[in-house]
C-alpha cells in the first residue's frame, strides 16, 4: 500500500470515528429527546461512511481488485437510518417526552401527534 | 450396505419421516389417515426394534457411523443390548399410546400424532447415540416434543404444570451445556468411548474440572430421571397431562436413568482411573432417599394418577440403587426392573385415563362417586396392574424386585436397601388397595351413564398389561437378555473396540 493511500485511509478512519464520537457525545449531552434524536443520524451517515470508504480502499488494495462491498452497508444505512429516526420521532411524540423549554412551535408537536394540519383546530 | 445394515438408524428415521409426512396437507387434514399411518408406523417400529434385538443377540453390538465418519470424529449410533432393549420398550409404549390416543384423545389439539412420533424419535435417538453432544440434541428433541405433548388438550392445570416442567428443564438444558463444555474442554472429544479412554489419562487439575463437569451432568440427568431432590416437578406433571402422554412419559425418567448409567456407571465407572465411580457417593444416599420420599408420597396420593406418578419416583429410586450397587448382577436386575416398571406404570396411566373418563367429575380422585359403567373389566385390569406395581406374583414386578434384592450381597448395603424396597412395596400395597377399594368398591350405587371405554383403548392397555405376565413366563429369556445388556454395559467399549465393531459390520 502506498503511503498516500495509507494516509487517506488513516485520515478517513480518524475523521469517521471523530464524527461518530461527536454524534455519541451529542446523544449523551443534548438536553431533550428530540435534540438527542439528531445525534445518531451523524454517526450512521458520515461517520460510518468515512470508515467504510477507508475499508473499501484498504481491501481493494489488499485484495488487488476493486472492492465495493462496504458501499452496500452505506447504502443500507442511508436507506434505513432516516426511517429509523422517523420511527423514533413518532415514538417520542407518542410518548409525550419532555421538550426543552425553549423549543419553538411546541403547538406543532401537538398537531403532529394528532396527525392534523397545523391550521386545523 | 444393504437396507438391513441401516437397521440401527431406523428407530430414529421411521418416526422422523412419519412425523414429517403427517405435516403435509393430505395427512394433516385427516385424523383417520393420521391414525392409520401412526399405528402402522408404531407396529413397524416394534418389528424393527425386535429384529434389531435379535440381530444383536446373534451378532453382538451394532455400530452405525453417520455420514460415514468414524468415531471419534463423526457421530455414531451404538446399538448394544441395553440401548436396543430400551428402543423396544419405547416402541411398544409408542404403539400402546398411539392406539389409545386413536380413541379420541388426539382430537383435543393439533399435531398430536406428529408430536408423538417426534417424541419417539428423540427418545430412540437418546438411547442409541454414542456421542455426548448428540445426546444433548436428542434430549432437546424429546424435551421439546414432551413440552408440546404435555399441554395437549389444554386446560389451566396442564399449562401451569407445563410452565414448571418447561422452565426447570430449560435450566437443566443450560446446565447440560455447561457440563458438555467442561468435558469437551478437558477431554477434547465428544464420543463416549473416546471420552472413556481419555479420562484415565487426565492430569491432576484437569481431573478435578472433569469431575465437576461429570457431576454437573448428574444433576442434569437427575432432573430428567426425577431423583431426589429434583423430582418435585414429576407428580403434578404426570398427573395433569392426558393419559396417553403420561403413559409415554413413563419412559422419560428412564432416559435420565439410562444416561446416568451410561455416563456415571460406565464412562466414569470402574475403568475411569482416578475418577472411578465419582457419582456413587452421591447416588447411593440419593437413591435411598428417593425411594423413601417416593414411598411417603405414594401413601399421600389423593388420586390414581398422582399415586402412579409417585410410584414412578419409587421406581427411579430403585433403579438408582441398582446403578449404585455397581455390579453386573445389579445392573441386570435393574434392567429387568426398568422394563417392568415402565410398562406397568404406563399401563396404569392409560387405565387411569379410562377410569377418569368414566367417573365424571370425580375423575380419578379417591372419593365416593357413582359406579363406573365398566367397573368390572377396569377393576380386573386395576388389580393386575396393582399386583405388578406392588411387586407381587404372578406378574413381573416380583421378579424384578427379587432380582434386585438378590443382587444386594453386602450386608452393609442390604441393611438399607432391603427394608426400603420391601417397605416401599408394602406402602404401595396399602396405597393401591386403598385406591382400588375407593375407586371400585366405595360407590354410591348410582349408575353412571358416562362414556364407555373404547375397544382400542382396552387393546392398548391390554397390550401393555399382557407384557407383564409374558415377562414372567419368559422370564428366563428376558433376564438372560438383561444379563447380556448388563454385561455389555459394564464392560464398556473402548474407541478401538468400537471401531473394530464398526469395521466388522
Amino acid at each position: 500500500m502506498t503511503v498516500f493511500l495509507e494516509a487517506v485511509v488513516s485520515v478517513l478512519l480518524v475523521l469517521g470515528s471523530i464524527v461518530m464520537l461527536v454524534g455519541s457525545i451529542g446523544l449523551a449531552k443534548f438536553p431533550d429527546y428530540f435534540t438527542r434524536l439528531h445525534a445518531p443520524a451523524k454517526s450512521s451517515t458520515l461517520g460510518v461512511g468515512c470508515i467504510l470508504i477507508a475499508s473499501m480502499i484498504f481491501f481493494s488494495v489488499q485484495l488487488g481488485h476493486v472492492n465495493f462491498k462496504e458501499a452496500l452497508i452505506s447504502m443500507f444505512l442511508l436507506i434505513t437510518a432516516p426511517v429509523a429516526a422517523h420511527m423514533l420521532a413518532k415514538a417520542g411524540l407518542h410518548y409525550k417526552v419532555n421538550m426543552k423549554d425553549n423549543t419553538q412551535n411546541q403547538q406543532l408537536a401537538k398537531k403532529a401527534y394528532l396527525h392534523q394540519s397545523p391550521d386545523e383546530k | 450396505m444393504g437396507l438391513f445394515d441401516h437397521l440401527v438408524i431406523f428407530p430414529v428415521l421411521i418416526p422422523f419421516f412419519v412425523a414429517v409426512a403427517l405435516l403435509f396437507p393430505s395427512l394433516n387434514n385427516s385424523l383417520a389417515r393420521q391414525r392409520v399411518l401412526t399405528i402402522a408406523a408404531s407396529i413397524l417400529m416394534v418389528v424393527v426394534a425386535f429384529v434389531l434385538l435379535f440381530k444383536i443377540k446373534d451378532q453382538g453390538i451394532q455400530v452405525y457411523a453417520l455420514g460415514d465418519w468414524s468415531a471419534p470424529f463423526g457421530i455414531i449410533l451404538v446399538a448394544d443390548a441395553f440401548s436396543v432393549l430400551m428402543v423396544c420398550l419405547s416402541a411398544v409404549l409408542g404403539l400402546a399410546v398411539t392406539l389409545y390416543a386413536s380413541a379420541g384423545e388426539d382430537k383435543n389439539g393439533a399435531f398430536f400424532h406428529p408430536l408423538i412420533m417426534f417424541q419417539l424419535m428423540g427418545i430412540n435417538g437418546a438411547f442409541l447415540t454414542g456421542d455426548a453432544f448428540n445426546l444433548f440434541v436428542f434430549f432437546e428433541v424429546l424435551l421439546i416434543a414432551s413440552y408440546s405433548l404435555m399441554m395437549h388438550g389444554g386446560g389451566k392445570q396442564r399449562i401451569q404444570v407445563n410452565i414448571h416442567y418447561v422452565f426447570l428443564n430449560l435450566i437443566g438444558s443450560s446446565l447440560f451445556l455447561f457440563a458438555l463444555g467442561t468435558l469437551y474442554g478437558t477431554l477434547g472429544t465428544l464420543n463416549f468411548a473416546d471420552m472413556a479412554d481419555r479420562i484415565p489419562l487426565l492430569s491432576s487439575n484437569e481431573l478435578l474440572i472433569t469431575k465437576s463437569g461429570a457431576l454437573l451432568l448428574l444433576a442434569v440427568f437427575g432432573l430428567k430421571a426425577a431423583m431426589l431432590p429434583l423430582h418435585f416437578w414429576l407428580p403434578k406433571a404426570y398427573a395433569s397431562t392426558s393419559a396417553p402422554v403420561a403413559a409415554l412419559f413413563a419412559i422419560m425418567t428412564k432416559v435420565g436413568i439410562y444416561s446416568i448409567w451410561r455416563v456415571h456407571g460406565v464412562m466414569f465407572g470402574d475403568q475411569a482411573g482416578e475418577l472411578a465411580n465419582i457419582a456413587l457417593p452421591w447416588l447411593w444416599p440419593i437413591a435411598l432417599l428417593t425411594i423413601a420420599i417416593g414411598a411417603v408420597s405414594v401413601l399421600a396420593s389423593k388420586s390414581l394418577r398422582v399415586l402412579c406418578s409417585n410410584l414412578v419416583i419409587v421406581s427411579v429410586g430403585t433403579l438408582l440403587v441398582t446403578i449404585s450397587l455397581n455390579t453386573v448382577q445389579a445392573a441386570a436386575a435393574g434392567i429387568y426392573y426398568l422394563l417392568h416398571s415402565t410398562v406397568a406404570c404406563a399401563a396404569m396411566f392409560l387405565l387411569a385415563g379410562v377410569i377418569q373418563q368414566q367417573r365424571g367429575k370425580a375423575e380419578d380422585r379417591f372419593v365416593t362417586t357413582r359406579t363406573m359403567p365398566q367397573a368390572g373389566i377396569l377393576g380386573f385390569i386395576f388389580i393386575l396392574l396393582a399386583i405388578g406395581l406392588i411387586g407381587m406374583p404372578p406378574l413381573s414386578g416380583f421378579v424384578g424386585k427379587a432380582l434386585i434384592l438378590q443382587s444386594v450381597t453386602k450386608a452393609s448395603q442390604a441393611v438399607w436397601v432391603w427394608p426400603l424396597i420391601l417397605g416401599a412395596g408394602l406402602i404401595a400395597l396399602i396405597a393401591l388397595s386403598r385406591a382400588g377399594t375407593a375407586l371400585f368398591w366405595r360407590t354410591n350405587g348410582e349408575n353412571n351413564t358416562a362414556l364407555q371405554g373404547q375397544p382400542v383403548q382396552y387393546l392398548a392397555i391390554g397390550l401393555l398389561v399382557g407384557i407383564l405376565p409374558l415377562m414372567v413366563i419368559f422370564g428366563g429369556a428376558v433376564s438372560d437378555f438383561a444379563q447380556l445388556a448388563a454385561e455389555q454395559l459394564k464392560a464398556g467399549l473402548s474407541l478401538q473396540q468400537l471401531n473394530e465393531v464398526a469395521n466388522n459390520g
Partner: protein, 166 residues
C-alpha cells in the same frame, strides 16, 4: 387480490439490475457469479412480486444521480454544522418544530423526501399529517423558519417532483 397475477419475466427491471449489481459487488465480478447473480436477479423479483405495491418509476436516471450527489454533499456539510452545535453549550441551542407543506404525496417520493430531510443533520422528519399535506420536522437549531422551509422544498422536493414526474 384474488385475481391471478399475470406472469412477468421482469416485473421490476430496475430492481433486477440493482440486484445483479449488488450480487457482483458481493462477489467481486467473477464469471460464475455473473450467471448466478442473473438467476437471482430474475428469481427474487418473482418471489417478491406479490409483496410489492406499484410504485412510480424514476423518469430520468441522470437526475437521480444528481440528486444523490447533492444529498451526499449536504450530509457532509450539515454534519459539520451539527458537530459544532454538539460541542457548544446546550443553552445556545434553539430547537423547534416546523410544518412543511407538501407538494408530493405518492408513497415512494414522499419517503425519499422525508428521508432526505432526516438524513441531512439538523432536521428530523417527525410526522406526517393524515392528509399527507404537511410534514412536521424537528429542527435542532432554528434561526429562520420560513427560510428553512423554502430551502427544503427547493433543494429536495422540487428535484423529486421532477424525477418522478408528479
Amino acid at each position: 387480490m384474488d385475481k391471478v397475477r399475470k406472469f412477468i419475466w421482469f416485473p421490476t427491471p430496475y430492481h433486477s439490475i440493482l440486484l445483479w449489481l449488488v450480487w457482483q459487488i458481493l462477489h467481486d465480478f467473477s464469471r460464475g457469479h455473473m450467471v448466478l447473480g442473473a438467476v437471482f436477479a430474475i428469481v427474487i423479483p418473482w418471489i417478491v412480486a406479490p409483496l410489492s405495491e406499484k410504485e412510480p418509476v424514476a423518469k430520468n436516471p441522470l437526475t437521480v444521480l444528481r440528486y444523490t450527489f447533492r444529498l451526499l454533499f449536504d450530509i457532509v456539510l450539515s454534519n459539520y454544522d451539527v458537530a459544532k452545535r454538539v460541542l457548544q453549550s446546550n443553552r445556545s441551542l434553539r430547537p423547534a418544530f416546523i410544518a412543511v407543506p407538501l407538494a408530493i404525496n405518492e408513497p415512494l417520493p414522499l419517503t425519499i423526501f422525508t428521508s432526505s430531510v432526516s438524513l441531512t443533520p439538523g432536521t428530523v422528519s417527525v410526522e406526517l399529517s393524515d392528509d399527507r399535506q404537511w410534514l412536521y420536522v424537528h429542527v435542532l437549531h432554528l434561526e429562520d423558519e420560513q427560510q428553512l422551509i423554502n430551502l427544503i422544498k427547493r433543494r429536495y422536493e422540487a428535484p423529486l417532483k421532477e424525477i418522478f414526474g408528479c
